[in-house]
Amino acid sequence: MTRKHVLVRVKDISRSYFENGKEFKALEHIQFDLYDQDFMCIVGPSGCGKSTLLRIIVGLDRPTSGEVLFEGKPIEAKNPQVAMVFQSFALFPWLTVEQNVEIGLEARHVPPDVRGQKAKKYIEAVGLTGFENAFPRELSGGMKQRVGLARALATDPLLLCMDEPFSSLDALTAQNLRDEILELWSDPDLPPRAVLMVTHSIEEAVYLADRVLVLSGRPGRQVAELEIDLPRPRNRREPEFYGWVDDIYSLIV
């Protein structure tokens, strides 16, 4: 398969923490490319440094060695072309749904009326019309994560990063939201051009991703980079689906 365009290049990243003079390796020699139109999942056991990896890729953390290039340039935290969805939602409790969605635009000095229009559009896209003036604590977990998603999409990102976005939700809500994300992803009019998602659930990765990066635990090492070529929509009960899940499972263990 010929690839169009490399969006993110992760070049030989390692990350260590130092405590009382002792070195603690979180990540070792991670290297991969993320292409245009790619939906990639990073899977690994807990404590393998996958969230650290994501934080490095969006520029919230710095690697001990190696670098991340976004469209050929070193990444930085305020890169407006990267947006992030958090596991804990990370909504500002004192702002309304609309104000939360607008925050990235406000930071970019977008005029209020344009902000309002954009926010409305994405609030509608995630199905929260009517809740514009609600505060986060009045919403359920699933609704909060929809706000988080709308907030990320509203900045028109090229790359959408998600850190375990469904882990704080109950199983049913999580499944609904997964399907909605796939639906939004298949809409060519909506950003982003690539998605990078961290998860500890192998099934979730096989269900969503085009490609899966498998990490081993402590320190996080790259075990495999797999291409999931199952047709969409995917069925969890098919043997091929389970074949993939089992393959990845055996790689981690």
């Binding site: 934080r55 969006v58 919230l60 930085e76 935290a77 305020k78 407006p80 990267v82 947006a83 992030m84 958090f86 596991q87 804990s88 939602f89 990370a90 909504l91 500002f92 409790p93 004192w94 702002l95 925050i103 990235g104 406000e106 930071a107 970019r108 000095h109 505060f135 604590r137 009045e138 907030r151 900045t155």
Partner: protein, 564 residues
């Protein structure tokens, strides 16, 4: 809640009736009794002026310390010291400075009163802002960074809102504290002169000196009304407003729809009001926004800019540090090379003051723990008793001084003994409320399921106290104790010398301070003053660092009840 407030007003009414009865029995003799409303307004204006300055200071100081690690290494210890300093001890110096600057005009006096009240409010608010900002959850910080929220927007959208709940909570404490010092500072004897400003505090003090119980009752009643009115009109609505900014809503608590601003209902509102009010400053904010944005860009684009700035930063820090440390060392050296004549009295003074405070603390614990256990566990009791306690607590100990003194002298055979009793009682009244309200909070915070588990397993009486109640209130007991002792040390200067009935102060640190400021001529005895202050700071600091903080650290590890 509405019922509770109604009862509060009912009680205020009863207090007023009691005051009226006293006034009928002994009619007020004060000529200015009719103008008491105006006097209250004067006092209130001083309070608000001091509070606004403290607010601006707290936000600026707290934010700077929280966002600039290097600055914090100086700013935090400094705040710690400022918080432990007995504020009233510095009042003569402040008074001296401003009165001279303004050539003895009333403006100088007013400014010194406001400055004193400011110092009693500002530190704990600044600490609140610092604490709130440094405990913002990492994910919110990340979200702000990730979406490019920086500069002014970051302050407006992240740091200030996160600080609001703690700021409002600490403001209420500071406000109460402020009354204590306002009342004390409206009449002040220093450098052989008595300075008076018209206000509710000076009214009560003057009545006390005359022995005019009608006027004392009138003044106290007016004070209670003012304190409760401010509570109802300002602090309760503000607390409601602040709830919208809380990061942690305990599970099981009713989630009410937060609507910022709507809770200050007594402010007339019309559509677009806030918009219109903020319009004049908005261009300024935009200029600031723009400048900070450009600066950020400069920062990220030129790697040499931050390095140069960092160097300037460090240089300034070093200069300030050297000046502060140098001045401190020179001052200390001078002090210890030429100790004042009374230096030998210091150890005895420490022992006596400490003994009085310890006695007051013991008395306070003896009644507050049982009352807190009772009030905290029964909703019914809370509804009836809390308003009573709030009315009592609203009267600063300094305003009760004439009443306490009169009672103590009447109750004891010898005047010497009466003065000792009065001293302990004033310390008690300064300390007890902090303990009580912290303890009630502690008892209330025992989770429902823990109480139910205790009931299911039949824990009752002594076993219940030993296994559930006392361990659960340890953290709030310690926080309350720290605040109470702080208030106690601060009260020493008014509790160890009663100019109206005695000529030499009682033995104690407060007494020595009084001796240094009131009794020695026009300039005061600066040597003795500084020496005593240093001793007091040392004792307070030692107690905080060696006793309270280690205990608190342990208590939080072992006894904190997690919200489940």
């Amino acid at each position: 809640m509405a019922g509770l407030r109604r009862r509060l007003w009912l009680l205020a009414g009863i207090a007023l009736v009691a005051a009226i009865v006293v006034m009928i029995v002994a009619p007020p003799q004060a000529a200015e009794a009719g103008g008491l409303g105006l006097l209250s307004l004067y006092s209130l204006a001083r309070m608000f002026a001091a509070y606004l300055i403290a607010l601006v200071f707290a936000i600026a100081y707290g934010t700077t310390a929280a966002t600039n690690k290097k600055a914090a290494t100086v700013m935090l210890p400094l705040l710690d010291v400022l918080q432990s300093i007995p504020i009233l001890a510095f009042f003569p110096a402040v008074l001296f400075f401003f009165v001279n600057t303004f050539n003895g005009s009333p403006i100088g006096l007013e400014i010194s009163v406001v400055v004193l009240v400011f110092t009693s409010m500002a530190w704990n608010m600044a600490f609140g802002v610092y604490e709130a900002i440094t405990t913002i959850p990492q994910d919110l910080e990340d979200a702000a960074a990730e979406f490019g929220v920086t500069g002014w927007l970051r302050f407006r959208r992240l740091m200030f809102p996160a600080a609001v709940p703690k700021l409002v909570y600490n403001s209420i404490l500071s406000w109460t504290n402020g009354w204590f010092f306002l009342v004390a500072s409206e009449v002040f004897t220093a450098f052989g002169r008595t300075y008076t400003r018209p206000g509710i505090g000076s009214f009560i003090a003057a009545a006390g000196i005359r022995g005019d119980s009608g006027s004392i009752a009138l003044g106290l009643a007016a004070l209670v009304v003012v304190v409760l009115a401010v509570d109802a009109l300002v602090w309760r609505p503000l607390s409601g407003w602040a709830d919208a900014f809380r990061l942690d809503v305990p599970r099981g608590e009713m989630v009410r729809a937060p609507r910022p601003y709507e809770r200050l209902r007594w402010i007339p509102r019309f559509p677009g009001m806030w918009h219109r009010i903020t319009r004049p400053v908005r261009p300024l904010l935009r200029v600031y926004d723009h400048a900070s944005f450009r600066l950020e860009h400069a920062y990220t684009r030129h790697p040499t800019v931050p390095r140069t700035l960092r160097r300037v930063d460090l240089a300034m820090f070093l200069v300030v540090f050297v000046i502060v440390v140098g001045a401190g060392l020179v001052g200390l050296a001078g002090l210890f090379l030429h100790p004042p004549a009374e230096a030998g009295e210091l150890p005895a003074a420490v022992v006596f003051s400490f003994a009085r405070l310890l006695l007051a603390y013991g008395l306070a614990l003896a009644w507050t723990i049982p009352v807190a256990a009772y009030v905290g566990r029964s909703a019914h009791a809370a509804r009836i008793v809390t308003p009573v306690l709030e009315v009592f607590a609203s009267v600063p100990a300094t305003a009760l001084l004439p009443v306490i003194l009169g009672f103590a002298i009447a109750a004891t055979a010898r005047q010497e003994l009466g003065l000792q009793l009065a001293s302990v009682l004033i310390a008690l009244f300064s300390m007890q409320w902090y303990l009580l309200f912290n303890l009630i909070g502690g008892v209330r915070s025992i989770p429902g399921d823990l109480s139910e588990a205790a009931r299911v397993f039949g824990l009752r009486g002594l076993t219940y106290w030993r296994r559930v109640l006392l361990p659960a209130i340890v953290p709030s007991f310690l926080t309350g104790s720290i605040t109470a002792w702080g208030a106690g040390w601060n009260a020493l200067i008014v509790s160890e010398y009663f100019p109206s009935v005695q000529s030499t102060p009682l033995t104690g640190l407060g007494g020595l301070l009084d001796k240094a400021t009131f009794l020695t001529g026009v300039t005061g005895d600066n040597q003795l003053l500084l020496f005593t202050i240093f001793t007091m700071i040392f004792v307070v600091f030692a107690m905080n660092k060696l006793l309270w903080h280690p205990l608190l650290k342990r208590a939080f590890l072992r006894y904190r009840v997690e919200a489940q």
